[in-house]
């Protein structure tokens, strides 16, 4: 049985990370693989996307071969210190303390490590009787800056804390991240300056600094090419104040042009053509649209 895969879906807030993560899960499920979606945002929309109630802190089935779980920093810290202190009352006192919370916030890497420790448990469960429950673990988010911090954590901890269980887990994570056959980053972006700038910087950080495998970037919310060059020339010939139809056409043409400009910039900087996902012109994301996105994304990402 092939070893399980780990995907990190990374991008600015609001670019469609959750949609892409869900699309990967659907694509995997369609290929007979079991996927686990890990939601890192406190206000994530994974549950909504699959039409179920909220996600829990333990994996819960969303659809055939698709499970999902929410990770929450506070709950991770609580679980960790409960294991450590073993006296619930003490743990409660500790967690209620402003100073303790300030300290754990200030201590870099605590929540990141605990999050990754859980992820590692799902991807590569250790122990003699461990069973591989999932073929694919897909981490949705967090937003780019935090994602990079998260991915740097194993290396930082492995050097700062070489010994003991923390050190050994850090080294296991480091090995997993560096294994291109198992771990991949997927960058999602939209045709906007800030988003594209951030994506290019993240790409460089992932490849040059972290030596991680990065898939083709996904450019989401791209307006379709509705008007041909001839059409555009014809429309440009109109005089006077544009009526609503013409104004709408100008809007669409400008949006498409902008998207093409960003696409070109990404292609030139990254050396690969981004995968394009279309802008949606319906009230919400339908199942058909999600499946269509899943097909596009997974043909590129999954064998």
């Amino acid at each position: 049985m092939p070893a399980s895969q780990l995907f990190f879906v990374i991008g600015k807030g609001g670019v469609g990370k959750t949609t892409v993560a869900a699309a990967i899960a659907r694509g995997a499920a369609e290929r007979g693989r079991r996927a686990l979606l890990v939601e890192t945002a406190a206000d994530g929309r994974l549950a909504q996307l699959f039409g179920t109630r909220d996600l829990g802190v333990e994996p819960r089935r969303l659809a055939a071969r698709i499970a999902a779980v929410r990770v929450e920093p506070r709950q991770l810290v609580e679980a960790y210190f409960t294991r450590l202190l073993r006296v619930p009352m003490l743990v409660r006192r500790l967690l209620a303390s402003t100073s303790f919370n300030a300290l754990t916030t200030a201590a870099p890497g605590v929540t990141e490590f605990l999050l990754l420790e859980r992820v590692l448990d799902w991807v590569a469960p250790a122990g003699l009787l461990a069973r591989q429950t999932y073929d694919l673990v897909i981490v949705d988010g967090p937003a780019t800056g935090h994602a990079l911090t998260l991915l740097r954590t194993p290396r930082n901890l492995a050097s700062m804390v070489p010994g003991g269980p923390i050190g050994s887990t850090a080294r296991r994570l480091l090995a997993l991240f560096g294994d291109a056959t198992r771990t991949r980053a997927v960058l999602v972006t939209i045709p906007e300056d800030l988003a594209v700038n951030e994506t290019l910087e993240a790409h460089a950080a992932l490849v040059d600094d972290l030596a991680m495998r990065v898939e083709r970037t996904i450019l989401n919310r791209v307006f379709p090419r509705r008007f041909s060059r001839i059409d555009i020339a014809a429309l440009a010939g109109a005089d006077g104040e544009p009526g609503p139809l013409l104004a709408a056409a100008q809007f669409q043409i400008a949006a498409r042009r902008g998207a093409e400009r960003h696409l070109g910039r990404l292609r030139r900087s990254l050396g690969t053509t981004p995968l394009v996902l279309p802008n949606i012109f319906t009230e919400g994301l339908t199942t058909t649209q999600l499946d269509s996105a899943a097909r596009r994304v997974c043909t590129a990402l999954l064998a």
Partner: protein, 366 residues
């Protein structure tokens, strides 16, 4: 695109002394803050805009070519007649925090001791919304010492107002005796729980030390020593800032786009703000698609060849759907919060890159 009108609205929210723009990242909050400043300056109010990390082009538009610790006059030029002065600055929170430490420390030596302390270096970035607190620090100074009639504050991209709102009090609290006592004597945290507790706490602290690679207890002692001497000043200032945020002359402006994520955040933000007793002036919606339903587009369509007609009508239908979606989202936002929509700024071809473009943007803020 429609030609923008440059009007001179006199709306109550522009008559405040302090406007705080809150909202999630990526909604154009900084642009809105700058545009609010422009709108107020057009109403002949002496205004300052404090921003965090503005995009390069906005920096250019505002003339913020280098980071400063004080607001800089925005070069107005001849294209902006009738505009009262507008000053702007981009806030570098670390430098502001350092400046505050230097101001409140009893001696330069103590200041340097604090600034060099490794724990301080960690904490000054992480501690209880220090970026937000520092923004408040700065504006307090500006309002009291620099005679601005209005200060507009952009906030760092964070999805929780809690950090911002709790910042003055939390910082004060943390530096107040209760927390400081903990730092001086960690066992006091679990006082009353006996020897077992003290031992386990020692274990906890050892774990934290291993995480951070810091000799925590040592660093804490040094940190506390320095900070204790600054507490009184900090606490007073924190109280003043907390009062300022709740004053009737302060208004919070929620900035959002019609994206469901941004709107959900704003609804939550509003709840937190209201619960904490802050006054929310309203919502500014940015990047709104606005192509309303038109019944008589056929006359216009007929002007074009058949092939183009189909495309034009299909395109309009698509954009109408987007517009409906946006309208519905903003309507749901209004229902959930009861807040007035102060402005619905349309999606522009590109973000404002010049002062003139900012003025056009500002014309929508009414």
């Amino acid at each position: 695109m429609k030609e923008a009108r440059v009007t001179h609205p006199s709306h109550s929210f522009l008559r405040k002394r302090l406007l705080v723009c809150v909202g999630t990242g990526g909604v154009g909050k900084t642009t809105v803050a700058a545009a609010l400043g422009v709108a107020a300056a057009l109403q002949r109010r002496r205004t300052a805009v404090i921003t965090f990390d503005p995009a390069r082009r906005l920096k250019d538009a505002l003339g913020l070519t280098r980071l400063t610790t004080e607001p800089h006059p925005v070069p107005l030029g001849s294209s902006s007649p009738g505009m009262e002065s507008l000053d702007a600055m981009a806030l570098d929170t670390k430098r502001v925090f350092d400046a505050v430490v230097r101001r409140f420390a009893p001696t330069p030596a103590v200041a340097e001791q604090i600034l060099a302390n490794r724990l301080y270096q960690q904490l000054s970035n992480e501690l209880g919304g220090s970026a937000e607190y520092m923004a408040m620090e700065k504006l307090h100074e500006l309002l009291h010492h620099a005679h601005y009639q209005l200060v507009v504050v952009d906030t760092p991209p964070s999805s929780h107002a809690r950090e911002l709102l709790a910042a003055p009090t939390r910082l004060g609290e943390l530096l107040a005796s209760r927390a400081v006592n903990f730092l001086k004597s960690p066992a006091s945290l679990l006082s009353g729980s006996g020897g077992v507790a003290r031992l386990t706490l020692a274990a906890v602290l050892k774990v934290l030390e291993r995480w951070t690679g810091l000799s925590l207890l040592q660093d804490l002692a040094g940190f506390v020593e320095g900070f204790e001497s600054m507490i009184a000043g900090f606490q007073t200032r924190a109280d003043e800032v907390a009062k300022l945020l709740r004053a009737p002359s302060t208004g919070f402006v929620l900035v959002t786009t019609p994206e469901p994520d941004a709107v959900a955040t704003v609804i939550e933000l509003h709840r937190e703000l209201r619960e904490s007793g802050f006054r929310v002036s309203g919502v500014v919606a940015n990047r709104v698609v606005a192509f309303p339903h038109r019944r008589n587009v056929d006359a216009e369509a007929a002007l074009w060849p058949a092939r183009l007609q189909r495309k034009l009508l299909a395109n309009y239908a698509d954009l109408e759907t987007l517009s409906r979606r946006d309208r519905r989202t903003l309507s749901a936002l209004h229902d959930a919060t009861g807040l007035p929509l102060l402005a619905a700024v349309p999606m522009l071809r590109e973000p404002p890159q010049s002062l003139a473009a900012l003025q056009r943007f500002a014309s929508y803020l009414e």
